[in-house]
C-alpha cells in the first residue's frame, strides 16, 4: 500500500514539470499561433484578422492561424519567448534582447516599418534645445527603445547617460508623469507622445526621424517553425502584403480600412493618419527586401547590440558584445557564429515581391 502510494506520488511529481515545459513538437502541425499588440504599424494585422484576410491565406495553404491580441506589448514578447506562440510582433532591439538573448532562435520574417518620429524626447518649456537636457531628471521606460533613442541622441550631442538621471516610469503613467510639476523631461512613444506634445509647454528636441531605420518593427517567427513549416511563413507574408496593398489603394475601401484600424487603436482616421505619418511603412515587399539586404542594417544592429550589451540586456552571463550572433541576408554574421539566435531573412518577402506566394 505504502509503496503504491509512493509510486503514485513520484509519478505525479514527474508529471508536474510537463505543465511547465515548452510546446510539444511531435507530429505534423497545421495549427499556428501569432501574438500581437496595439501599435500604429501593426494595426493592419488586426484588420487582416477581422476581415478574413488571414483566414483566406491560411486556407490557401491548408493550415489554421490563431491570432491573439495581447494588451501589454512586453507580455506578448514574453509569451512568445517562453510559451507556445510561433510568431510575434516586436522591434529589432526587443527581438535581440528578449527571445534571442533567451536562446530562442528567431527570424525577422517581415520587416514592416520603422519609427520615423513615433518616438521622441520632450523637454518642458518653450524653445528648448537637446543640450538643455544636461543635468535633468528624465522620465523614461528604461531599457526600452526609448532609452536607445535617448542614447543615440546623447551620442550625437557628445553626452552620455552620466549627464542626466533616468527615472524609470511605466508607459501607461507617462502622461500623468508629465503633468507633475517636478517633471522636466520625458522620452516616450506614440500615442502617449502625441498627448504630451499637445500640451502648450512641450518641446520635442529629438525624435526617431533623426535616426531613420534604426527602430524597426517586425514580425518575428521561431526559426525552426519557419524551416519546418514554410506554409505558415508564406501565409503570414501573403496576408500582410495583401493588407498593405489594400491600404494604399487610395479609394473608399482603403479609407474604410484605415478608419477601422484607427478605431481599433483608440483614435480615429485623422489620428491614425497622423501616426502613420511618422511611421515609415514598407507597403511594397520590394522596399522591405531592399532595406533588409542593405549594409546599413548591419550597422544599425551593431549600434543596437552595443547598447544592449552595455546595459546588461544580453543577460548577466553575457561576457562580451559578441555573445549572441545575428545573421543577415547573404550569410554575414555579427557576433558569435556558433550562437546565432536572430536572423534577418528576406526570402519570403522576396517571394511576395515576385508574386510567388
Amino acid at each position: 500500500m505504502r509503496s503504491k502510494l509512493f509510486k503514485l506520488f513520484a509519478a505525479s511529481l514527474l508529471l508536474i514539470p510537463l505543465a511547465f515545459s515548452g510546446p510539444a513538437s511531435a507530429g505534423d502541425r497545421t495549427h499556428f499561433k501569432l501574438a500581437w499588440s496595439i501599435y500604429a504599424g501593426w494595426m493592419p494585422w488586426g484588420y487582416a484578422v477581422d476581415h478574413g484576410i488571414i483566414k483566406k491565406w491560411a486556407d490557401k495553404y491548408g493550415i489554421s492561424i490563431e491570432v491573439t491580441q495581447v494588451n501589454d506589448y512586453i507580455q506578448s514578447i514574453n509569451q512568445y519567448t517562453s510559451g507556445d506562440y510561433d510568431a510575434c510582433l516586436m522591434t529589432n532591439m526587443d527581438a535581440l534582447t528578449i527571445p534571442a538573448a533567451a536562446g530562442v532562435d528567431s527570424t525577422a520574417l517581415i520587416v514592416g516599418d520603422f519609427s520615423n518620429g513615433n518616438d521622441g524626447v520632450v523637454l518642458k518649456g518653450k524653445g528648448k534645445k537637446f543640450a538643455d537636457i544636461k543635468g535633468q531628471k528624465v522620465n523614461i521606460v528604461e531599457l526600452s527603445v526609448s532609452q536607445y533613442l535617448l542614447d543615440r541622441g546623447l551620442q550625437m550631442h557628445h553626452m552620455t547617460e552620466k549627464d542626466l538621471k533616468l527615472v524609470n516610469t511605466s508607459d501607461a503613467d507617462m502622461v500623468a508623469a508629465y503633468q507633475a510639476p517636478s517633471t522636466t523631461a520625458v522620452v516616450t512613444w506614440k500615442p502617449q507622445l502625441s498627448t504630451i506634445l499637445a500640451s502648450p509647454d512641450a518641446t520635442e528636441v529629438f525624435n526617431s526621424s533623426q535616426i531613420p531605420g534604426e527602430i524597426i518593427d517586425m514580425a518575428v517567427i521561431k526559426t525552426d517553425v519557419m524551416k519546418k513549416y514554410p506554409k505558415f511563413a508564406k501565409a503570414l507574408v501573403g496576408a500582410w502584403y495583401e493588407t498593405m496593398a489594400l491600404m494604399t489603394k487610395k479609394d473608399a475601401t482603403a479609407t474604410a480600412a484605415l478608419t477601422s484600424m484607427g478605431k481599433a487603436s483608440g483614435t480615429d482616421l485623422k489620428g491614425y493618419e497622423s501616426q502613420l505619418a511618422t511611421t515609415y511603412m514598407f507597403y511594397k515587399p520590394a522596399a522591405a527586401v531592399k532595406f533588409t539586404e542593405s549594409p546599413k542594417l548591419l550597422k544599425t544592429m551593431d549600434y543596437v547590440r552595443q547598447f544592449s550589451f552595455d546595459h546588461g540586456l544580453l543577460g548577466e552571463g553575457a561576457r562580451s558584445v559578441d555573445a549572441v550572433g545575428i545573421e543577415f541576408p547573404g550569410g554575414k554574421i555579427l557576433g558569435d557564429k556558433n550562437n546565432v539566435k536572430l536572423r534577418f531573412d528576406a526570402t519570403y518577402m522576396k517571394m511576395a515581391a515576385e508574386g510567388k506566394l
Binding site: S21, G22, D173, A177
Partner: protein
C-alpha cells in the same frame, strides 16, 4: 482515542512536516528548470540555482558596470528607507487619530465617517492624482504607503480603544483623572502593543504599496529592479529578489513580535502572540 484529530506530531516531526512542502516545491522547481534548460540552455523563465546564485553574487558583491553601485544593497536600502518612513508615519498618525476618534465622542462623530470613507479609497486608483500633488519623487512613494495603511491602523486603534473595559475609564475618573490624563495614563499604555499588532498586520499591504510606487516611477529600490528586469524576463534576478523581500518582511514581522513580547509582557500573558 486514536483519532486523526487527536494525534499531534512531536517537535522534530513537526519541523519535518513543516519543511516538506518547501522541499517539494524546490524539487518541482529544480526538475522543471532542468527540463526547460535541457531544451534550451539560455532559457530565462526557470533559471538554474547556479545562475541565480551567480547573478546575486554580482548584484551583492560587485559594483555595477554603469552606476558603480552594489545593486542589491542600494536597492534594499532605498526600499527600506521608504518603507520605514511610510510605516513609521502611518503608525504615529494611526495612533493619534485612532485614540482621538476612539476616546472623544465629538471627534468620533466628526471624523469617524470621513476616516471610514478614506480607508475605502483604493490608493492605487488615485495614484495619478497623487503624482500631480506630490510629484514623482520620494514624497509620493511615502504618501502612497501612508495613504494605504494609516486609515486601517487608525480604525483598528479606534476600535481597540472602544473595546477597553468601561470600568477602567470610570475608575480613573473617580480617582480624579482628567480626559487628558486618562488618555495618557490609561489608554495610551494599553494601545502600544495593539499598535504593534496593527502594524504587523498592515506590513503586507505596506510592501504592496511600496512595490507599486516603485514600479511606476523610481530610480532605485527592490520593486524598481523587479519591474525593470521584468522586461527582459530576467527571472534569475526576480526570483532571488522576491525571496529576499519575503525574508525581509518575515524578519520585520518577527522583530516586531519580539519587541512586543519584551516590552509588553502583560499583553502576552494571556497567550496572545
Amino acid at each position: 482515542m486514536r483519532r486523526l484529530i487527536n494525534q499531534n506530531p512531536g517537535k522534530g516531526s513537526a519541523l519535518l512536516i513543516g519543511a516538506l512542502p518547501f522541499i517539494l516545491l524546490l524539487v518541482i522547481y529544480l526538475v522543471s528548470s532542468a527540463i526547460r534548460l535541457e531544451a534550451n540552455p539560455s532559457d530565462k523563465l526557470l533559471p538554474s540555482l547556479q545562475s541565480m546564485v551567480e547573478t546575486m553574487h554580482y548584484y551583492a558583491f560587485q559594483a555595477d558596470r554603469r552606476t558603480g553601485e552594489f545593486l542589491l544593497w542600494a536597492d534594499t536600502l532605498a526600499s527600506l528607507e521608504r518603507l520605514g518612513l511610510g510605516v513609521g508615519l502611518s503608525a504615529l498618525l494611526g495612533l493619534f487619530v485612532g485614540i482621538a476618534v476612539g476616546t472623544i465622542p465629538y471627534i468620533r462623530s466628526g471624523a469617524g465617517p470621513l476616516l471610514s470613507a478614506f480607508s475605502l479609497i483604493p490608493p492605487l486608483a488615485i495614484l495619478p492624482v497623487l503624482f500631480i500633488i506630490f510629484g514623482l519623487g520620494e514624497t509620493a512613494k511615502v504618501v502612497l504607503i501612508v495613504f494605504g495603511i494609516a486609515p486601517f491602523i487608525a480604525r483598528d486603534i479606534a476600535l481597540r480603544v472602544t473595546e477597553l473595559p468601561r470600568e477602567q475609564i470610570i475608575k480613573a475618573q473617580t480617582l480624579g483623572a482628567s480626559s487628558w490624563l486618562l488618555v495618557l495614563r490609561v489608554i495610551l499604555p494599553q494601545m502600544w502593543p495593539r499598535l504593534i499588532d496593527s502594524v504587523r498586520l498592515s506590513l503586507g499591504a505596506a510592501w504592496l504599496f511600496l512595490i507599486a510606487a516603485e514600479a511606476i516611477a523610481a530610480t532605485n529600490g527592490l520593486g524598481y529592479r523587479i519591474f525593470l528586469v521584468r522586461r527582459y524576463l530576467a527571472m534569475d534576478v526576480i526570483i532571488p529578489y522576491v525571496l529576499w523581500i519575503t525574508f525581509l518582511a518575515y524578519l520585520m514581522d518577527y522583530l516586531l513580535r519580539l519587541l512586543s513580547q519584551k516590552a509588553f509582557r502583560w499583553y502576552h500573558a494571556g497567550g496572545n502572540n
